[in-house]
């Protein structure tokens, strides 16, 4: 399996970041960085990470099952994560999540038919003082109202259709 030069460079650095004989430490970062590039953790990726870090594929699999940010299946291009934990809840986080379901026409951990959006109800993302908060991919959006949510989704949709026209 080959990766982009940036990812290869990252992997090379990770494998020397830990004490001798501790390359297993690189498993979680490698999976996350690879997922950033490939969209999800494929079977092939599991085997590759296992090979490079010197562990068994099972040891990689058991780690994937533990961490909530790892996806075994492809997800939408934009992963829309809405926090409904208490600090968001009390200022409209749960209502925002309900709104997001309607706006996108999908439920928790579902993907729109065009493959653009995946929706996820998530736990605290660390934006409590600027709640309700969402993350699209890794980008934070603070104090999101239903109106702002719609605007954001519209803007992302427009950007995508613009790209298609160009290509």
């Amino acid at each position: 399996m080959t990766f982009s030069p940036t990812l290869e460079e990252r992997f090379a650095k990770l494998l020397t970041s830990y004490p001798p004989g501790r390359t297993r430490s690189a498993v979680v970062p490698m999976l996350l960085y690879a997922q950033d590039e490939m969209g999800f953790v494929s079977r092939e990726l599991v085997e590759e990470v296992a090979k490079r870090t010197g562990v068994t594929p099972l040891q990689v699999d058991e780690v994937i099952g533990y961490y909530s940010m790892m996806h075994r299946e492809p997800i939408g291009k934009y992963n829309v994560q809405v926090c409904t934990n208490i600090c968001c809840l009390v200022v409209g986080g749960e209502d925002l999540f309900e709104h997001a379901k309607k706006c996108l026409g999908i439920g928790h951990k579902q993907t729109t038919p065009d493959g653009l959006f995946t929706l996820e109800e998530v736990e605290c993302m660390g934006a409590c003082s600027w709640a309700p908060a969402i993350q699209v991919g890794y980008d934070f959006y603070h104090q999101v109202t239903p109106e702002r949510f719609d605007q954001l989704i519209d803007a992302l949709r427009k950007a995508e259709s613009g790209k298609n026209q160009v290509s």
Binding site: S17, Y18, P19, R22, R24, S25, A26, V27, V28, P29, L31, L32, Y33, D36, T53, V55, Q59, E62, V63, G65, Y66, Y67, S68, M69, M70, T84, N85, I86, C87, L89, V90, V91, E94, E123, C124, M125, G126, A127, C128, S129, W130, A131, Q135, Y138, D139, F140, H142
Partner: protein
Amino acid sequence: MVYNEPSPLEVKVVSRRFLLENSASIDTYLATDGYVAIKKVVGMTSQAIIDELKASGLRGRGGAGFPTGMKWSFVPLNTGKPTYIICNSDESEPGTCKDRLLMENDPHQLLEGMMIAGFAINSNKGYIYIRGEYRYLIPILEKAIAEAYKHGYLGKDILSSGWDFDIYVHTGAGAYECGEESALLESLEGKRGIPRLKPPFPAVVGAFQCPTILNNCETFSHVPAVFREGAAWYAGLGSPKNGGTRLMSVSGHVNRRGVYEMPMGFPLLRLIEEVCGGIRNGKKLKAVIPGGSSTPILRADECDVALDFDSLAKAKTMAGSGGPLILDEDTDIVRVALRTIKFYKHESCGWCIPCREGTTWLTKIMTRFHEGGGRTKDIDLVYEIAKNMLGRTFCPLGDAAAMPMIGFIEKFRPEFEEYLKKKAPGPAIPELALA
């Protein structure tokens, strides 16, 4: 960048560079007393460093409030094993969003704090364990680390002291449990974040089975100021035995939510009224969850309390990670309780039965209760189950789930009882096996 207006009542120690242009760059850092502390420290002995830190009254900002100098003093020196410095940047306690700002706006301050710890126990390697959700901070930290190498603050023979130190960034991938120190160490080794049996504590057997200093991101960020300005100055900023300042992540129903740096021991009511502009929409205060979602709730009549570890402990709650959630009179406490326990059920790693089963049962009962199918005895049942979880798990996640539930019932029992009346019993819900 910062995401809220500052308050004139703040005392800025760790946030003093937040508003400067290019605050994350080494040039800004060096122009504002950056890396002054490490220059002093390399002329000190281990013992002198730890004594100074003890005298500063600095206590862990991650939640437990353990005296930092004492924690460092537990690391055995000269065991022949390597030692490690681990920064816990897995900030994930609901209500807390301060470490994000420290890494985004002043990464060099964190690096300098870790260096001081590294020099104190003659460690050559440090790791910043950052939660996966904070992916955008990794390039910022990596740039700061690269700058520090370039200027000779990391690498070989730092400041001609003969001491070498490297810092690496390690990312998690979504797990609250990894904020618990021993689970974090498992995760750092590439495993599931399952807590370890303690003792031995990480100071003796920590990262890679070696002696380790493991502190919260904010704790390390306070360390340079202690050595730059002196322990007495730092201690004097706070209240007795609670040195310095801390970042308070205020959320909920106030007019000006935000992260503010307040002296330890600042009164909670003044924080709400003067710093945050009071309760929004002219409502009355109902309650405060003072230090993150795991800390027991305070009723409005109990909120005349100082925000430090000892005062909040006396009020039978905790200062935790410094994230007061302010709730107004319209807040549905039962709904907050349900969402709280749902979170802990989701995050329980499943290793210990009281936590795994307890959070699941509590979630089932609370869901039934919230949906209108609750029974009078459920209130005592929730209380009893939570009490039986306390102190019976490897790590504090079980306690973190149980403590707030006990608090909700002790402080707001009438509201739970009211729920029974106002809600018509919902559709027939099968009796839970445990009832």
